[in-house]
Amino acid sequence: MDNSLLKIEDLQVVYSTDDSLVFAVNGLDLDLAPGETLGLVGETGAGKTTTALSIMGLLPDRTGFVTRGKITLDGHDILASSEAELRGIRGKLVSMIFQDPMTSLNPTMTVGDQIKEVLQVHNPDADEAQLQARIDELMELVGLPAARKIEYPHQFSGGMKQRIVIAIALACEPKLLLADEPTTALDVTIQAQVLKLMRNLKEKLNTAMLLITHDLGVVAQICDKVAIMYAGEIIESGTIEQIYTGERHHPYTKGLFGAIPNLKEKTRRLHPVEGLMPDPTNLPLGCAFHPRCAQCLEVCRNCAPAAHLVDGHMVKCHLYKEDR
C-alpha cells in the first residue's frame, strides 16, 4: 500500500523555550497519495503550521525539535536529510505557500525575477529565453497577464499577490503543495477567485495538496480528504463525505460544525464547544479534549484513545471502539 507521496508516522515536534517545552505536535500520522488534496483543519495552536514546517524541514533552528517520528516524501526520508538535500527538495518536490501574501513577496524584486529565482535554483542549465518563456507560461496559468512580470509586488492587489505566490510555488511543478491558510487574509470574493484557480490547477497539474485552514467551507470546496487536528494530533480523518455527513464523529468535530453560522437555517444561537484549546506546555492527561467534552467518560480522563478505523474513516475517541 505504499502508493503514498507523503507519509508521516508518529511525528512529535517540541519547541524548547527557557522554562518549558511546548508540545506542538504529538504523535501525528498522515498519508497522502499523489494528486490528492487533504484539508488539515484545526484552530489556532493545533499544530498545523508546525506540521507543514516539519515536512519542509523549516522548523526554527534553535528551538524546534523533531523528537520522534518519520516523514517520507516520495521516498526521501526528510528528517534524515541534510540541509543540502533539503534545498534540492524544496521548490522542486514540495512547495509551500504561506498565509500572508503581503509579506511573502520580496518588495524590492520584480515579480518576474522572483519566479525566475526559483526556476534558476532547480534548473541551473536553463538559458534566459527558456526561463522567460516559463515565467510567461506561469503568469498565464495563474490568470495574470505575462506583461506584468516586470512590475513590483506593491503594484498588485492582495489576491493577485497570492496568485503570484502560487505561481512561484508551482514553478518547478512540485508533486506536493503545502498551502498554509492561503485565503484567510483575502476578501471573500477574492478568496472565491483564488479557490477557483486552485481547483483548476489541481485538475490540470495533478499536484497533491495539503491545505491547512480553519475554514470548513473552504475545505468542502476543494479537498478530497479531511483531517481534523486538535492539540497536536489528528483526532479524526476521512473523505469529505465521511467527515461532512453521518453521525460517527469526534465530539470536537461536532463542535466545529456547530460553531459555523449557517446561511440556510434560521438558528439564533450558535453551539460552539465551550472552553479553550489546552496549553501545549501542559496538556491534559488521557484524551487531550476531555476537559471540554460533553460526552467525557471516566476512561477519557486517564487513557489516551486509540485510533478507531472504519472503512478509512478514523476517529480517535473512546466512544467509537470497534467492538461497541
Partner: protein, 311 residues
C-alpha cells in the same frame, strides 16, 4: 551541536512523559513579566557584566567617604610621595602631586556618574516632553518643535559644550547644562519616533473613544508604551556624557582642578606618560569600562525588551 541539543530535548520530553504516566502533571511556574524581563536580560553575559560593574562602581563611588578620606588622599599634595609605582599602599600608585591615583579614580567616578546620570535624566524629561508633544499634536506644533531641535543638532556637540562653558564658566551644574543642551534634541527625536509609533495603535483610539483628555493619554497610555527605545537611548547617552565630560576636562574646560576627574587626570598625566604610564592607564581604563558597561546595559535592555529577538 544540533544533535546534542536534540538529545537534550528528547530527554526532557521523555522525563515529562514519565511524570505524566505516573499521574503527575508538573506544575509550571508562571513567571511574572518583570522576572521574565530580568531573565532575558541576564542571558546577555556582557550586559550582565556591565550591570554588575555599574552597581559596584556606584556603590564604591557613593560610599567612598566611608573608606577614604577625600581631603588627605585625593586633594592634599604630598610631594614626598609623588610618582610612586603601584604598591600595596597605593594600589595604582601616586600622581605627580603625591595623590593616590586609586582614590582619585574612585572620587572621579562619583563626578562622572553624577554628571552623566544627572544630565541624562534631566534631558530625558525635557526631551520626552518636547518629543511627545510634537508627535502627539503633529502639524505645525511638530514642525516648530522639531526644527528648533534640528538647529541645536546641527552644531557639533563638543563645540556646543565648549561654547556654553566658555560663556557660563566651569562648574558641575554649568557643565550639566552645557551637555544637556545637546542631549535634549537627541532624546526628543527618539521620543518623537517612539510616540509616533505608539500613537497609531488601537488602544489609543480606545482611550479617545471614552473621552480621555490629551494629557492623560500622553502620560498614561503613550509614554509608558514608548519607554523602551527611550531607556536604551538613555543608557547610551550616559556613556556619551561620561566621555564628553572627560573630553572637556581634558582640554581644561570641564571640572577644574584639583577636583579629581578622569579626563583631567589624563590631561595632567600626559606629559609624564612615557615613564609613568600608570598615570594615564588607570584613568583611561576606568573611562573605558564605564562607557562599556553603559553601552552593554543598553544593548541588554534593548534585546530583553524585544521579544522577537529571544532565542
Amino acid at each position: 551541536m544540533k544533535k546534542t541539543d536534540l538529545q537534550k530535548v528528547q530527554a526532557r520530553a521523555a522525563e515529562y512523559a514519565k511524570l505524566r504516566e505516573a499521574g503527575i502533571t508538573p506544575e509550571r511556574k508562571k513567571r511574572s513579566a518583570k522576572m521574565d524581563f530580568f531573565m532575558r536580560f541576564a542571558k546577555n553575559r556582557l550586559a550582565l557584566f556591565g550591570a554588575a560593574l555599574f552597581i559596584v562602581m556606584a556603590l564604591i563611588a557613593f560610599n567612598a567617604d566611608n573608606f577614604f578620606d577625600y581631603e588627605s588622599q585625593a586633594i592634599f599634595q604630598n610631594m614626598s610621595q609623588r610618582l610612586l609605582k603601584p604598591s600595596a599602599e597605593h594600589i595604582f600608585g601616586t600622581d605627580e602631586y603625591g595623590r593616590d591615583i586609586f582614590v582619585r579614580i574612585v572620587y572621579g567616578a562619583r563626578i562622572s556618574l553624577f554628571v552623566g546620570l544627572g544630565t541624562v535624566l534631566s534631558s530625558m524629561l525635557l526631551g520626552c516632553l518636547i518629543g511627545a508633544v510634537a508627535a502627539y499634536y503633529g502639524g505645525k506644533v511638530d514642525n516648530l518643535l522639531m526644527r528648533t531641535m534640528d538647529i541645536f543638532l546641527a552644531v557639533p556637540s563638543s563645540l556646543m559644550a565648549i561654547c556654553v562653558v566658555a560663556a557660563l564658566g566651569t562648574g558641575i551644574f554649568k557643565l550639566m547644562i552645557a551637555l544637556a543642551i545637546s542631549e535634549v534634541p537627541r532624546f526628543s527625536r527618539v521620543v518623537r519616533s517612539s510616540v509616533l509609533g505608539t500613537k497609531g495603535q488601537e488602544f489609543i483610539e480606545a482611550a479617545k473613544a471614552c473621552g480621555t483628555r490629551d494629557l492623560r493619554i500622553i502620560i498614561r497610555h503613550i509614554l509608558p508604551n514608548s519607554m523602551g527605545p527611550i531607556i536604551v537611548q538613555a543608557t547610551t547617552n550616559v556613556a556619551r556624557c561620561v566621555l564628553m565630560i572627560s573630553s572637556l576636562s581634558f582640554i581644561g574646560l570641564g571640572i577644574p582642578s584639583p577636583t579629581p576627574e578622569w579626563g583631567s587626570m589624563l590631561s595632567e598625566g600626559r606629559t609624564l606618560m612615557r615613564y609613568y604610564p600608570n598615570l594615564v592607564i588607570f584613568p583611561g581604563i576606568a573611562l573605558m569600562m564605564t562607557a562599556l558597561s553603559f553601552y552593554s546595559i543598553g544593548d541588554g535592555l534593548r534585546d530583553a525588551m524585544d521579544p522577537r529577538l529571544r532565542n
